[in-house]
Symmetry: D2
Subunit: 287 residues, 4 copies
């Protein structure tokens, strides 16, 4: 696909009459051809959400001036929070992984096939298992083991690597360490986790064991932004898989892993495509 460069506005503000007209007028009068527009009103909260994507070719405002001009002409008066992204600037991802490789494998499969418009310069792991996998894909691999004693220093080493590689978004691809609040604060709503249960059911450790014990008929996976409360961040994507009484815990893990990797990769894509807005610990996902 020969796609033209676009700008993407993600915005939210208190609801009032005329917001869409104001935004679309602003774009149209500046020769911005809208290629996609989605809006949502939370009627209970009286709050407005919008994603609009327009072609930059012929747009009369310079890329560097859009933020300021939009603020002056539209955003400020509406008390709007917004961000603008450009389709020709590739997000930079770092992958954190532990021993389970299924999510890492799935992500690298997409990376190598060019499915996502992204750079992945960095894999960090507290184990050495997947070093050759990462390096075969041309990605730097750093083994940073974590213990109770060295956690603070090692997280700093991770943060240094992330800064050095100019990382935008961190994907915890079944990374089995809990990140500190300090670490999380560096990447607000930019750390994507996959939890192997249907949250809020079975948070924390060993959800498949808990699912088996409870005798559920369906297991799930949840991809969410990491916040300081464990497994409680805003949910980007979830899906499920049916199980039967003859599935033991090993079967749950196996069936669950197929689900985990698909759910995580969908969530990553939504994030990379600038389709996710977070509001009150919930995600508006414009898909």
């Amino acid at each position: 696909m020969n796609q033209q460069t676009t700008a993407i506005l993600l915005a939210e503000c208190p609801d009032q009459a005329g917001i869409i007209a104001k935004v679309t007028n602003f774009l149209t009068k500046n020769n911005g051809n809208i290629v996609d527009l989605e809006q949502h009103v939370d009627t209970a909260d009286k709050h407005f959400f919008m994603r609009v994507e327009w072609q930059l070719e012929n747009f009369s405002i310079d890329r560097e001036q859009i933020q300021k001009t939009f603020s002056e002409e539209v955003g400020s008066a509406l008390n709007m929070n917004w961000q603008i992204a450009f389709s020709d600037i590739k997000p930079r991802l770092a992958l954190f992984v532990s021993q389970h490789g299924h999510c890492l494998f799935d992500i690298l499969s997409r990376y190598q096939s060019g499915e996502w418009d992204v750079e992945i310069p960095l894999v960090i792991s507290n184990h050495k298992n997947h070093q050759s996998l990462a390096e075969n894909a041309g990605i730097a691999f750093h083994h940073i083991p974590i213990t109770a004693d060295n956690k603070q220093q090692q997280e700093q080493a991770q943060l240094d690597l992330l800064a050095k590689h100019q990382i935008d978004t961190i994907v915890l691809a079944r990374y089995m360490q809990i990140l500190s609040a300090n670490f999380i604060d560096h990447y607000p709503h930019q750390i994507i986790n996959i939890h192997h249960s249907f949250l809020p059911a079975f948070p924390g450790a060993r959800p498949y064991h808990s699912a088996h014990e409870r005798g559920v008929k369906i297991i799930g996976a949840t991809s969410h932004y990491v916040t300081t409360e464990l497994d409680a961040g805003p949910i980007i994507e979830q899906d499920i898989v049916r199980i039967r009484h003859n599935d033991n815990i090993e079967d749950l893990k196996r069936k669950g892993q197929d689900n985990e990797k698909i759910v995580l990769s969908r969530a990553i894509r939504h994030h990379l495509m600038h389709k996710v807005l977070v509001y009150k610990n919930r995600c508006i996902v414009f898909v």
Copy 2:
């Protein structure tokens, strides 16, 4: 919910820059508060689709004048096809049914609970089975048996009843007669059928037998607008249910019926809420 009266515009036209701005400007400058807007561009066909809903309270154009004013100020210049509906005008449905009552039952359940904002004054059947069911729900029931010989007259009798009851939309709730082209032409994209397969697989008669014979692992149901080509009209909604090797044809029918009634009722709702646009034998469904 105390909902305000809204107008709903469903529109499609060749794509060009500025359509959304033109429509939203028209509404905003006339004090129409937009409560929902969805648009879609078929980039392959370069065609634009839109659904916009706004509050009529304070709207400065009289209800009777909207069509004309919109045409003059927006629609004609864009070469647009559109329709406008009002949320306080209840659509009027007729139900056609044969011997299987599961879809009829499901629809009446929703009708009696007030789930849909609709009037259902009429049930027509070529069998007598469900007369008391309809009448208990306060709906007129007409038994119109069809044979090869009387089909033309009986369809005329049906058309007369539909006209008398001012019917907008006909639902074939497992009605096992094929409608003539003449009949269909009276209600273009206003006759909703449920077919008990995952179309285009297994069109025509006895799809569950064919599904069993082929050994599929999943069966489906498809709700579509009726056109003169059998089971080939634009698809509104589909869903599936998994089966196992130990499901015989009776099991397929039973599991399939649960699926059929849910799929049909979803399609009816989309239609009643004016969320469906038909273009090139495909449905854009704004949900």
Copy 3:
């Protein structure tokens, strides 16, 4: 289908070698033609489960003697718990309902179409809404309102009605009262509830509100046997439906109700067909 009368054995015991051979030998040497056999071994618990169904025609043991003979020749030595049912004895169901009628409607649809081989002589409700619906289906309706003060007496009135109508199984078709431990003890693993969430997520009241608040992407429904711990009994069946950010709480309720009625009806069918074994608060469901 002209089905022959069958006997169904549901059995569980500590696992050991030769159980299946012992059971099938017992049936075969007595001319019992096996039409279905399913077994399961919980390898973690080293426990064995079995469902076997055989034709009674030509079976050399009288119906009344099967229990005793099986015990002497097979069951006792294996330390087996078991029950035997006969396909020509119709289970007798009572339906408990409150204001929401969607599950009741769905069950009555199946009852009237003959989908289930069952008798439903009794509907009990703490509201009067659905009286005519029940009575139109030829079922006795009893209005038994519950308050904090009269709960004990009213439950006794319910128990008396259940006894009078020789009820085997009670279905709580969105019955919004919590049953006392005393009541539950009268019908162990014979009271089927539908809870409008994906248990163990969102137990208790207002699960759709909680689901909306948490921002989940999927909602669920769970049918389970009622035990004295609220919403914690063994799960018979679950299913889910996807939601989007633009679904408000009313939408969740509406989409959820479609799911609830299907999940409940599936669970009822499994129970009626003697396909469910309970062990350690989990259901083995032989489907």
Copy 4:
């Protein structure tokens, strides 16, 4: 898991009374501890199917004699077709692939994590894209381009490689060449294909284009054994993914590929675990 070695019998024969008892007796009297048994009766065809798995430890018949002894004591008299497999003999797989790598990647992910008990010594492709991927996994890669002119010789080269590597099962992991009848005859019900549609809908080339054209709301994938009739072999596994009107053909491909790889891998696993019986172009899959 430290699993004991088991034998697996897959058998089918005309239905009659006592089959299960005969088989289980044979095993039990020879000290074969049954760990899993599943049976199915096709009541329409009056045909019996069975999968039984037992521990070889303590089994009194030598591995080499089981086939002959079972035939004499059980199989022949029942007019049974059967095969016996042993859990400690790893099936040997060859992967055929063209340009799309998503299925290959998914299979190699499972291979490298040890999810399947299998040997994969060989990848054959008509393109060179995935050579390093295969070789990084320690698998021999052979580039065998196919043209209209060289097809017969190249297929012979493939057959020679398959023979040399003692391949049991061939997986067409989105291999875009049609195999000749001669080739297929060498591996009856041992060639597993993934077709990117919900068969029997959209057989042949470009199913996602056809799905888009038809306006379906759900797309599917089908894994089946290859027979000489294109896309018409017995179906092992199918699954689906929902789409919306705003998904263009590229979106269908992307969403479909996630589905394809999961469906194919499930089908491979069923086959490797000896859970699939083919009868009258249908698969009985004992899961």
